[in-house]
Subunit: 269 residues, 2 copies
DNA sequence: GAGTGGTCTAGACCACTTT
DNA sequence: AAGTGGTCTAGACCACTCG
């Protein structure tokens, strides 16, 4: 009933993406339920008055997002699973907490220059003892501590950052605005560990409590590593939610991760 | 030098995918290094003699795989990072270990019918106490225990499986062959925990050692949940490696996971 | 046989980046 | 101004699935 009026050819938003959003909206509203058949590419094309390639691009982007999946000769179906909010967000603490209605805050523990140790130097492709800027923050949700994050940045790349940056604000925004540095990729390693005495005090847990340990190296324009972050998050407050889907391309057993979320746990025990 | 001869128009392999493999090969061979510019879509099209849309599809599929990334007005660049083997495999214990040259084996602890508890019943959309088939295995690499996996399957869906299935072989292959059941998606939750006495004995670690806890629900044709797996993996032997890339589509701060691997750790401490 | 998604063509215009 | 990727068109043939 509201297929045609939902599309605006004058809009700056690409047609295929308008169709994408339109279908996604119908799924979120429950008009299309998991397992339901989406309109065929041909039907979308004729109903909305676009070429089939454009309709196809819209459907393809839904599949890429893990919201639907296609079967040759049969059609495209709505995937099952929590379509809670956007499903491909990840790991930005502030965004994540805002999306869940908690108030994210940070307590700055330290913001200073230190010499790179072996691990930091390797990650940032520096030589040991090179000067790096260190920012240690306790991440809190509604004044309850959730994790500790230590960020390391090459001091040479961001001259003056320590003087101009307010460590209570967004580091990523500051890097983009002041230095034109945009992150394009990151490698992240997740391990498990036990809370040390120091971390236990900061996070208000028992020493020896299980914790997530994240180590992330972020790259600008995929060339130079510009940030290394070590994070320790409370194991009793977080879980990682992944949505996996089988890879169709060129058959086989490979899988890919369609979406992933780091979620707070219900408070227990 | 070997652009044209690498493409075979008579092959059943799609043109765009042949081009994808061709470029990937050049990257793996080091002819194209991280940060290097790929040939433009127009150049690929004219050099190989395909339409630009086909060349574009090849480049797009490389970007989808996290191997490259595009910048409007500038070009498409090779991503940095480990292109070790295929980068989008995940979590199939047997594959993972084979790829790393370890010999994967399993020790079957139990293979029996049990009544679904609350957690299993919820995950499989059954009522509590429904009969389910349970398969508990210790996963080993070179005879060293790496994790414990408990699989639960609705008994009603797989009548006779207990009698015909050899629990030392691949469960997924058996489901596909005997019941025509193919998994299309899965939801996975990763938590951290401490080894219980029972798990500690099976995994040969100290009680209270940190462990990964995976809980995965797999769906057939994205409709019915057909398998629920609880896994406990040694925290001193595994890490999760994720490759993140910024999402381009319609600007914003969202990220997506391009690839993920569960890797064994070097034995330490 | 009718309908579906998968692939492919040969053009086109645009916004953006670099020279 | 030239080159790039982003989008879009209006067709086409194919392999596959289903009734």
């Amino acid at each position: 009933m509201l297929t045609a009026p939902a599309i605006d050819r004058e809009s700056a938003v690409p047609l295929y993406y308008q169709i994408h959003l339109h279908l996604l909206h119908q799924i979120e509203e429950g008009l299309l339920k998991p397992g339901d058949l989406l309109p065929s590419e041909q039907e979308i094309a004729t109903r909305i008055g676009v070429s089939r390639m454009t309709a196809r691009q819209a459907v393809k982007s839904l599949c890429d997002a893990g919201v639907a999946y296609s079967r040759r000769g049969r059609g495209t179906f709505v995937s099952r699973g929590k379509q809670e909010k956007t499903s491909t967000e990840l790991l930005s603490f502030t965004q994540e907490m805002n999306a869940r209605g908690s108030r994210p805050t940070s307590r700055v523990i330290s913001f200073d220059y230190v010499q790179a140790g072996a691990e930091v130097a390797t990650a940032l492709h520096l030589t040991k003892n090179t000067k790096v800027l260190r920012l240690v923050r306790v991440r809190m949700a509604d004044s309850s501590p959730m994790g500790v994050e230590s960020s390391f940045l090459p001091a040479s790349l961001f001259a003056g950052l320590k003087e101009t940056f307010d460590p209570r604000t967004s580091l990523y925004q500051a890097l983009a605005k002041q230095y034109g540095v945009r992150m394009v990729a990151a490698d992240e390693v997740t391990e498990v560990g036990l809370a040390t005495t120091e971390v236990a005090n900061l996070l208000a847990v028992q020493k020896g409590a299980p914790v997530f340990i994240f180590k992330r190296t972020s790259y600008a324009e995929s060339q130079r590593p510009v940030e290394y972050v070590q994070s320790t998050y409370r194991g009793d407050r977080w879980k990682i939610v992944s949505r996996l889907s089988t890879s169709e391309q060129s058959g086989g057993d490979a899988r890919r991760v369609a979406g992933r979320q780091l979620l707070p746990l219900h408070a227990e025990r």
